[in-house]
């Protein structure tokens, strides 16, 4: 808590500088929401290290923008957008460019086994997600993990609601197909 220390004034009232106020409020938000941001980033990129990079970038930008976004009561929306934008930036890096994998190439996955989730379920869903184009995956995560509406998703991604709808439909169709192939009788009850 040293980062949010206050200054004791002569009258015993507790004062904080603007920076201390910012650090305290930012720290409270991070404590509450960092895990959620990380999990969203993890779904977007499928890699724990890259997910951490994305969250670090997002939180750094959030800290700089904190006075503006907190006044507008849009901290969570801003954080969500910076996570998505950081993922977009990641996919633009030439030596990290993502390419959708074919559903059957599960060996391309580079992640640890997820504790608590049956490995076959986890693998099937991960493989299906990785089979989506990055843009489709972003739509799926925003719509079906974050629970945003079509319009909210469109605003976050800077695309039209029609594009969101078509990408969602395409993505769900591909996911459904990949998951149904994986769930052969006798393997998934």
């Amino acid at each position: 808590m040293s980062s949010v220390e206050g200054v004791e004034e002569g009258n015993g009232r507790f004062w904080m500088t603007g920076r201390q106020q910012r650090d305290r409020a930012f720290g409270e938000y991070v404590a509450e929401r960092r895990a959620h941001l990380y999990r969203a980033a993890y779904l977007l990129c499928g890699d724990p290290h890259r997910a951490e990079d994305i969250v670090q970038q997002a939180l750094t930008r959030l800290y700089v923008a904190w006075p503006r976004v907190s006044r507008a009561d849009s901290v969570d929306a801003y954080a969500r957008r910076t996570v998505v934008n950081a993922h977009i930036d990641e996919t633009r890096r030439p030596w990290r460019r993502e390419r959708p994998v074919e559903a059957e190439s599960g060996s391309a996955l580079d992640r640890p086994v997820d504790p608590g989730v049956p490995p076959e379920d986890s693998d099937a869903l991960w493989t299906a997600l990785r089979g989506l184009a990055p843009g489709q995956r972003r739509v799926v995560v925003l719509r079906h993990y974050w629970g945003l509406s079509v319009d909210e998703t469109a605003a976050d991604l800077g695309i039209s609601p029609g594009t969101v709808k078509s990408q969602t439909a395409d993505a769900l169709a591909r996911l459904r197909e990949a998951l149904s192939v994986a769930a052969t009788p006798g393997e998934h009850p």
Binding site: S3, G6, V7, R13, F14, W15, M16, T17, G18, R19, Q21, R22, D23, A25, F26, G27, V30, A31, R34, A35, Y38, R39, A40, Y42, L43, P48, A51, E52, Q56, L59, T60, L62, Y63, V64, W66, P67, R71, D89, E90, R92, R93, P94, W95, R96, P112, D114, P115, G116, V117, D121, S122, L125, W126, V140, V141, H144, Y145, G147, L172, R176
Partner: protein, 277 residues
Amino acid sequence: MNDTLDLEQRLRDLAAAAPVPPTPLEQDLERGHRRLRRTRLLAGAGAAVGVAAVALAVGLVGTATESGDPVPAGAPTEVASDDPAPSEPSPLRQKEPNGGQLLQTYRDVLAEHLDPDGRHLQEKPDNLQYGSGLGTKLAWTVPGQEGMGMVQIFVGPGWRSDVGGLCGEPGATCSKTTVDGVTATVIEGDGSTTVVVRKGRVPVAITVQELFGNNSLVPVDGLDLDVADLVRAAADERIVPPTPKQIRNAGPSMGFPALPDETGPRGQGVSRAPAPR
């Protein structure tokens, strides 16, 4: 509908099982403090040269609201405040720097955007690219690795910043991107990325390659730069075009023999050390 609900539940289960790393809050705060300092330094530099009245106004407003004076805890308004700003000297000079100093400024701006921790980018330029503009190639290394990558900046017209020519290179792909309101052309080739931002009629080109071809046979691993940061660096207002005088005196100011008057569209390049090919 059931399919959708099932998918949502499975996504939540999958995400809930993600191994969240225990990152200390202090690290997030420190990264934020560093970025804030850099942002303010840029604003201060803009005010010092009076490049843009808008930038100056923003800087003044920022200074006025960032006094660091105490405010009551729990007050509803959030003040964009940091420690009281020290009166740091402006990184920009009052009189025109020579070409070598200008290249050092270019390098320092690149470092702020691309290598804020100062671990990778060569500290002092020893390569000169000149012609109708001025630029330099800087080594990018990773401690413990023998490989060497390259970050090149060139400011002014010439083949290094000619979008048409670069996009016409075999295997190159070109696209447009917009970062913080700045539109840039991104040219991606074999192991290299070039970002070109136009400032009025003057192009600023930044090229990143995993292999510093003239200086190493081994590419660097981990040259993991963000296109958005390249655009921000190119758009930085301290990256100003060189004057003809700066192009002429760049070589002597860096210890090279006086350059012949070869300013022209093709341009030249010299390095302090002979280039092992």
